[in-house]
């Protein structure tokens, strides 16, 4: 008896392999040629949404399951908005039960690579795409979703409030100021007992939009920073060269590094500092006022740059001149394709984006976490852009 059972198991395993590999390979051949899969309804939903040629007959393909088949939208990228995106995705389950969203926080650099490789339906990035990336894939569009503050977080036993200015922050990250009781820091913080300890400088180890915002600010404050270190998703940190730097993966990684390293300083999106009770420093802004990162100071900074959006719908909002502006800020963007071939997926994605930037509950959740929602003018720009998105040459909305 047991012998027969073994044979049965063995044979069923072989059959299962044949069935599944057969099915798998037919699928992969179908998806390898996205421009030509006009028929085959079962695979149509899985076809990638990248725009390798738009077959004119493809519109007829998904006719038998238009709007009714469950849809999965996959995205990856920035960790800057990850806390609010996971909340939104959770909320959206009850708004659109048939649409499942999946967003993985792999960093803005990773997200840009993923959408250029065509492995995701949308990407999150707070780092602006470069010209050569637009050339590689001309239909990419960045859509601002939210703005957020980057805050300097620190871990000094017994110190809860700290004030820094741009030049001091530059000098710390340039490894020119290496101890907490440096006169430059002490001058900004009268009455605070600063320890005679070396400063451990935490930064991102992956390609990061948060780093781009932070280095944009340091570059705006200091020509020396622009000339010697530069602005970008990843830079060569001077503190690393002097052995005082540590890297963390994603915003969570930097927050954890600062939490677990005494006498360290780092930079993260405000939501990570707030929800984990990590103390963050006040800044002296461009107008010379001491400001703390909150909804008001963020609004002030955004208002100062209200009309600065480029044709690409992107802008940088660091070192705002406003009286109460928080100086280290950035918009975070979704990166999508303007020309698509999978109409159901595209429609679902556009619906989600519209919901995310228009819904009151979604806006409230973002504000609770410490993000700033889009000013009305910017929201109108985004919605106008959404109406230009096409699927097989036809507008989707």
């Amino acid at each position: 008896m047991p012998i027969k059972k073994t044979i049965a198991v063995f044979i069923s395993l072989i059959i299962a392999t044949i069935v599944i590999t057969g099915c798998g390979s037919s699928q992969s051949t179908a998806t390898k040629a996205p421009s030509s899969n006009t028929g085959s309804a079962p695979t149509a939903t899985k076809a990638p949404s990248n725009n390798t040629g738009s077959a004119p007959t493809a519109t007829k393909a998904p006719a038998n399951n238009t709007g009714s088949a469950p849809i999965t939208l996959n995205g990856a990228g920035a960790t800057f908005p990850l806390p609010v995106y996971t909340e939104w995705i959770q909320m959206y389950k009850s708004v659109q039960p048939d649409v499942t969203l999946n967003y993985q926080g792999i960093g803005s650099g990773g997200g840009q690579k993923a959408i250029l490789d065509g492995t995701v339906d949308f990407a999150g990035s707070d780092s602006l795409l470069k010209d050569e990336q637009y050339q590689q894939m001309p239909d990419l569009q960045m859509l601002p979703m939210l703005a957020g503050a980057v805050v300097p977080i620190f871990n000094i036993d017994g110190v809860d409030n700290l004030v820094l200015d741009g030049q001091t922050l530059v000098d710390i990250y340039m490894a020119k100021i290496t101890r907490w009781n440096d006169p430059a820091i002490a001058a900004l913080n009268p009455g605070v007992t600063l320890p005679d300890e070396p400063i451990v400088v935490a930064h991102r180890s992956d390609g990061s939009g948060t780093t781009e915002i932070f280095t944009s600010y340091l570059g705006a404050v200091s020509k020396e920073w622009t000339d010697n270190v530069g602005v970008g998703k990843a830079v060569e940190w001077p503190a690393d060269a002097s052995g005082q730097g540590i890297g963390g993966k994603g915003n969570p990684g930097v927050a954890q590094a600062v939490q677990s390293t005494p006498f360290s300083i780092g930079y993260v999106e405000l939501a990570y500092a707030k929800s984990n009770n990590i103390p963050f420093a006040d800044m002296i802004n461009a107008a010379g006022n001491q400001v703390t990162a909150n909804a008001d100071t963020m609004k002030d900074a955004m208002a100062a740059f209200a009309n600065s959006f480029s044709e690409r719908l992107t802008t940088k909002i660091v070192n705002a001149p406003g009286k109460n502006s928080w100086p280290i800020m950035g918009y975070t963007y979704l990166v999508i394709h303007m020309k698509n071939t999978d109409c159901d997926k595209t429609a679902a994605l556009l619906d989600y984006i519209q919901w995310a930037i228009s819904d009151d509950a979604a806006a409230q959740k973002a504000a609770d976490l410490g993000y700033a929602t889009l000013p009305d003018a910017v929201r109108t720009l985004v919605i106008n852009k959404l109406h230009e998105v096409t699927c097989n040459g036809q507008p989707v909305l």
């Binding site: 099915c23 999946n102 492995t119």
Partner: protein
Amino acid sequence: MAQDIFSQVNLQRVYRRRRLTNKIMLGLTGLMLVLALIPLIWIIVYVLIKGGRHINLDFFIHLPQPMGTTGGGILHAIEGSLVMVVLASVFSIPPALLAAFYLTTHESTPLASAIRFSTDLLAGVPSITVGLFGYAVIVLAQKHYSALAGGVVLAIIMLPVVIRSAEEMLKLVPPDLRAGSLALGAPEWKTAIKVVLPAAAEGIITGIMLGVARATGETAPLLFTALGNDNYEIGKMIKQGIEHNQSIFDVLGRIFEQPADALPLTLWKYAQQPYPERVEQSWAVALVLMLFVLSLNILARVWIARRRSALQ
């Protein structure tokens, strides 16, 4: 006479010395055994204590909550791990068994030594490299991350483990048994399936279990292939499939063709979060992963014991 007494005394002294040496060496080996067991017991106890507090039913039947909020579970990771390990087993076990049969029946052909050599090489390839291979060959070609891609890379990792252990087990089957079966006129394939395989089944199953355990614990290759998915829920996919009158292939397609999470992947992601709930949950994930692999082993052993008593 005097010499006899002398030699007897002498002998007793020798015996005493030998007994003493025996005791000392036995004590030493015992001590080393304890030393060797310390890390194992330490890990098990530590993970039990750290992770045990957060294990409850909700942890197994719910999807994760947004970060920074309490509650939520790891259903997505459990289901993702199951799907990928099942896929990996289906892809790797049949070819591995066939290769093992070939290796034992044609021990010294050039092809056999080539298979053995390449199997050893494959076993030595770092798993992250296998993951990168999966990314380049499957993910980039298919244009999306998927549980299927995760299953394939895990299959590649399982393959050498299963081939080599199955070969060892098949070798242990007495050649007389095979010769007898062939002499009685049974064809080679019947001999293989009805005589050799049952005789070696226990060992082969153990080898498969080892392979499955290895695959379940792998993180690195899944980073490039399965990516991760907080909303991976097979029940929901089946339910939606029924609601929308999808065929079984559509539903299976959705299950296999979208990104998936896995227990070690979730552990890795959670452990680097600043949120204390996530870090605590990562210990609970570690515990679940450990118990999963442990129970696999125990199940295999129980099954083997049952078979053994049935055979006798």
